[in-house]
Symmetry: C3
Subunit: 266 residues, 3 copies
């Protein structure tokens, strides 16, 4: 499995995929810098008029609903429709759907509208989408109980790869679960670590048809970059910069040396 | 007074209040990272459709009018209305109201609409709101003459705690004035230092009914974090990161050691 | 020529021009911090209702079309109209116009609407505007062939100073070309380096009627700040902070020591 991860990592650097990013205003700059450091080419195109055509020329679409209003919703709808027509992978980040119930309806509508490659959320969001009660504070998830089960359930229900982040991260296609144990709690002290993960996952999905591998590559890259950054600085202001540095220098040897994950059959 | 400040500082860390942030696009990321470092949980929810309900589940509302358009104005109106109904403290940051006169009308409308806990602006904005002539360049204030008096007058007129920032910062409820002498001129060389102060003031207001103390705690934390950051780097690019670091590590001992303020009766 | 550059650099610090910035959401924070470090006073005012009047009190207008939607288009139209009436210099950054063809029409409309002082884009954007085929990936330009010629041609066609960025940067008024050879490839690994250049060019245009000199001053300041930053860190996360530091400390001696440019007659 690690060899496939390495291939995806190298393919991103080699192909420099164009990622259409529709994300929230808070993390737009962070997402762009993370994608550039990782070797991809991001473009944030968020008007309904431009969204459909821009998705059509992109290699993947990242949809983050953290700042949606009616206009951005329309841009997302247009882009997801375009992605379905043009066979572009879509990574969906249902930010805040546990606290703001109307967002669950919007996510369900998107799931009907087009084929979503990966749904990636924190534990609370994945539980909320799978129909469980979630313990959240605003956009943050407060406990990880039952998250793996919710992840599997949602993958089976939606026929999609589902990724949930937390103390441990889970990737499931409904048949198996990959548990990723890398990461750092400092990610909860900076804004947008989860969003950056979603953006990076779009880059890996652009170069791999195996979305489990694409998700795993992104999780390992982001989490290990975070671990290495934490060793350089355990304070959030400088940690942020070091995290981007490490996304830039990450390579197969670093991934192989630090990766901690296991695979379970469901 | 310093003991009450220490209690507020500790309560933010302990309770991790959820802060509903409606702020300008320029500083959204900075505000989110500052709140996370300080121990609060920020969420930027800015659509009119979601704003009312989200304020209702938050512990404080921060309203910054730096990037208003018609849609954001509506979101602000909905959130301030919700805050009044649900007894949520509101911190209002009248960015740019000295240069753009129509913003004064919007601020006055908000003051009628709901109860505002704290109005926090730079000297020029506070003078403009209190009906004085202000010497400003765009969103920046050019002189501090008469600011303390404007602060007191506006507090009396609006029955609100008013905070003005500048070389010295003033907090007034119309009966007394607290003068805070901490800070660094480097805050004028980075964007959004004042907005970050407003966001942090929302976090302290979420855990304290005494808005003078809430304002003082935020001013001391932000200004002292800035002073310590400046000792680590006096260049704005690295200063910004060090400022966030110091907001993260600030604690009662640091506050007690560095705080410089005095209280005057009006 | 370098003496004129030095004068512009000093005049920005001395006059602290107010720059009305209408830019994309991704780089708004970066643009504001860069302008503050360079000595200017930025204000991002992007609502159609406020744009006309705010341009009228500004010293220059920076228009970046990277995140346009219908509302921002209207704000831009209002501001460019105001700039024409009030003789405010306008710097136009046609982000993404090579990949999104409808943006070319919008740019052409702006060129008819008011007098644009400088058009600044990457090689692909300048080629697309001059009617050539451009080899681009999203908002990034992939090759520099024929860019100098496109730059001259567009300057002649529009009677405007045209700046194109890439491995070498070109400035042309249609009669001569200034070739700037400073810079660092790390600018392609962070988001918004080109946008920051456009913002800085607005600050220099605010204090100089000679737009060739204004463009040259901005290019030298930004590129040399980048070169010095790269010597301090060649990793993008920390490079970004060091770049802002160097925009802050740049001065006539540094410019004179490092500037590499030549002038060709057309």
């Amino acid at each position: 499995m690690i060899d496939e991860v390495v291939k995806v990592l190298n393919d991103v650097k080699r192909k420099m995929p164009l990622i259409h990013v529709i994300t929230n205003y808070v993390v737009m700059n962070d997402n762009a810098n993370a994608l550039l450091s990782f070797g991809a080419s991001p473009a944030m195109v968020m008007s309904p008029e431009e969204a459909y055509d821009f998705t059509a020329i992109s290699n993947a679409l990242y949809v983050n609903i953290g700042s949606i209003n009616n206009e951005i919703k329309q841009a997302i709808i247009n882009s997801v429709s375009s992605a379905s027509v043009h066979k572009i992978p879509v990574i969906l980040d249902p930010v805040g759907c546990a606290a703001i119930k109307s967002r669950i309806d919007f996510v369900k509508m998107l799931l009907k509208l087009g084929s979503i490659s990966i749904i990636k959320g924190n534990g609370g969001e994945i539980k909320a989408l799978s129909g469980e009660n979630a313990n959240v504070k605003g956009v943050d998830s407060l406990d990880d109980n039952g998250v793996m089960e919710a992840c599997i359930k949602l993958a089976q229900k939606t026929n999609t790869v589902v990724v949930s982040t937390g103390k441990e991260d889970y990737i499931s296609d409904g048949k198996k679960v990959v548990i990723v144990k890398n990461g750092t709690p400092l990610f909860t002290k900076i804004t947008g670590a989860g969003c950056t993960l979603g953006a990076i996952m779009s880059a890996t999905s652009a170069v791999s048809d195996d979305k489990i591998i694409a998700a795993l590559t992104a999780l390992l890259a982001v989490n290990i970059a975070g671990e290495l950054a934490e060793k350089e600085s355990n304070l959030p202001g400088t940690f942020r910069a070091k995290f981007i540095n490490n996304l830039y220098i990450i390579n197969p040897d670093i991934i192989k040396k630090h990766a901690k994950f296991e695979v379970l059959k469901v």
